[in-house]
């Protein structure tokens, strides 16, 4: 690798770039830039979802990767939207709490119904994150053991202590009960 070779490469120019963000099966095209409505490179996915796309179901609490409140799915995996740059999220399918309902029928995901049935929340602020982490778990492992459920939720803070009811709610919809 020679020095000239490296220096001759182009530096990025902001403002020319478009990002195609796929959220809940919808495509949003965002222009990279610093103006209003544009995608600043420093915007996190959580910020874009909430402030630009209006998908406020995703909650931000710590904004530092510690609480799981902002959990969304990236290609079926649970990730923290506060620790991802939107500009790096193009091309991957993102699912938020708003995307769990059946798009056509509007029916709730069984997990959502189970959360209601078990009152698996108190203030409800952690709940979207809890549900998204649970969803990722059940997609990867439809019949988790109780320990696996707890482990999958171990990155999700709940100050009210709804975890006992959350675990019950997840168990109730998992293939292997109990």
């Amino acid at each position: 690798m020679s020095r000239e070779n490296i220096e001759s490469r182009n530096e990025p120019v902001a403002g020319e770039k478009l990002i195609e963000l796929r959220v809940n099966s919808q495509v949003y095209v965002l222009r990279v830039g610093r103006g209003p409505g544009e995608l600043d490179p420093a915007h996190t996915l959580a910020f874009t979802l909430r402030e630009t796309l209006g998908l406020t179901g995703t909650k931000v609490s710590c904004d530092k990767g510690a609480c799981g409140g902002c959990t969304v799915l990236r290609e079926a995996e649970a990730v923290l939207s506060c620790m991802l740059l939107t500009i790096e999220c193009g091309g991957k399918e993102i699912t938020t709490i708003e995307g769990l309902k059946d798009a056509k029928t509007g029916a709730l995901d069984p997990l959502q119904q189970s959360f209601i049935d078990h009152s698996a929340f108190q203030c409800g602020y952690c709940t979207p994150g809890m549900i998204m982490s649970s969803k990722a778990l059940l997609t990867a492992n439809p019949s988790p053991a109780e320990e696996e459920i707890k482990e999958a939720l171990s990155g999700n803070f709940c100050r009210c202590i709804s975890q006992y009811q959350v675990v019950e709610a997840v168990k109730a919809v998992s293939g292997k009960k109990g």
């Binding site: 020095r3 070779n5 530096e11 990025p12 500009i87 790096e88």
Partner: protein, 323 residues
């Protein structure tokens, strides 16, 4: 977070070029789970002008064994390490260390390279800008190390100098026990450095224009017995107060090989060579384990509030070796 320019690099060369061009004002983003926290808190003395995404570089996410070496690409994710069958069978400490990092969501994006290069968690160093301003400390090139006179309950008991922050990386400890080495690339070419030698009290051994490409582990001896133990205040979402990775091999009822690394106690993973020496040629027993543990922490020099970490380290080493 303050704004920056952003570029998706599509090859290592391209990424290196961008780093070199910005003379220290560009920063690599891998999983971002450490970097974004630093940027949001405004902690870095030099806020980057450019963020170079390296996740767009193809072919850096491998975990494979070829002949005599295990090779892991810098972009392999921690969830992949934790779930790897190969690692579980032959490099269990790596698997366990990766699985002990943070929580599931972070492991889904965090990378091996990022884990090894992450910044320290010292609470003085990390004090956020918007809560009255950051704290100018030795690590930032200005001021004292606040930990010396302050609350140093989690700081280094070994090897601190000027700065007493400990290396927060769990993988570094496992790699150190396995004798892993990093391949680092720069415009000047490639170099290799043992993971155990990568860290110093004031930072890691990475120049502004360097990128970690790969970590490899030589099959020095068979998988033997491998164990990783991590002591934290709570299990997930927590950095090690002390962690221990041990790789031992027994032949004819005695220890033939032993490599022990301790995390959370020093600026880097601390190879407990004195403890290793104690073990070689001896029959495993509780008493021997305890003796090795004493030897491991022999040179420890605690600060005002962290002497208890010595006891924790001893207990962990005894357990790792003994049981």
């Amino acid at each position: 977070m303050k704004t920056f320019d952003h570029y998706d690099a599509h090859s290592l060369d391209e990424a290196l070029g961008l780093l070199a061009n910005r003379c220290g004002k560009a920063r690599i983003n891998a999983g971002g789970t450490d970097l974004l926290g630093l940027l949001k808190d405004g902690v870095l003395p030099r806020y980057p002008e450019l963020i170079v995404n390296i996740k767009t570089i193809p072919g850096l996410g491998y975990i494979e064994e070829d002949g005599e070496r295990l090779r892991i690409g810098a972009l392999a994710r921690l969830c992949e390490l934790a779930g790897s069958k190969l690692l579980r069978e032959r490099y269990a400490v790596l698997c366990e260390a990766a699985g002990a990092v943070a929580g599931p969501q972070i492991r889904n994006v965090a990378t091996v390279g990022g884990n090894l290069c992450q910044d320290v968690r010292c609470w003085y160093y990390r004090y956020p800008a918007h809560l009255g301003g950051t704290m100018e400390c030795a690590r930032k090139g200005r001021g004292p190390c606040f930990a010396i006179k302050g609350d140093n309950r989690y700081h280094a008991i070994l090897g601190g100098r000027k700065c007493f922050a400990v290396c927060p990386s769990d993988l570094a400890v496992a790699f150190a026990a396995l004798g892993g080495q990093m391949t680092i690339v720069s415009p000047r070419g490639e170099r290799k450095i043992a993971v155990g030698d990568f860290y110093s009290p004031l930072g890691n051994g990475l120049a502004d224009d360097e990128i970690v490409k790969e970590i490899d582990v030589a099959k020095a001896f068979g998988p033997g017995r491998q164990r990783f133990l991590k002591f934290t205040v709570r299990k997930p979402i927590d950095f090690a107060i002390v962690s221990v990775a041990a790789v031992t091999e027994e032949k004819n009822g005695v220890f033939a090989n032993a490599r022990i690394a301790i995390g959370g106690v020093a600026p880097g993973p601390f190879r407990a060579e004195k403890a290793e020496e104690k073990l070689i040629g001896k029959k495993p027993s509780e008493a021997l384990a305890a003796e090795a543990a004493e030897a491991a922490v022999e040179g420890a020099r605690p600060l005002s509030k962290n002497g208890w970490k010595i006891e924790v380290a001893k207990a962990l080493i005894t357990r790792v070796i003994g049981s």
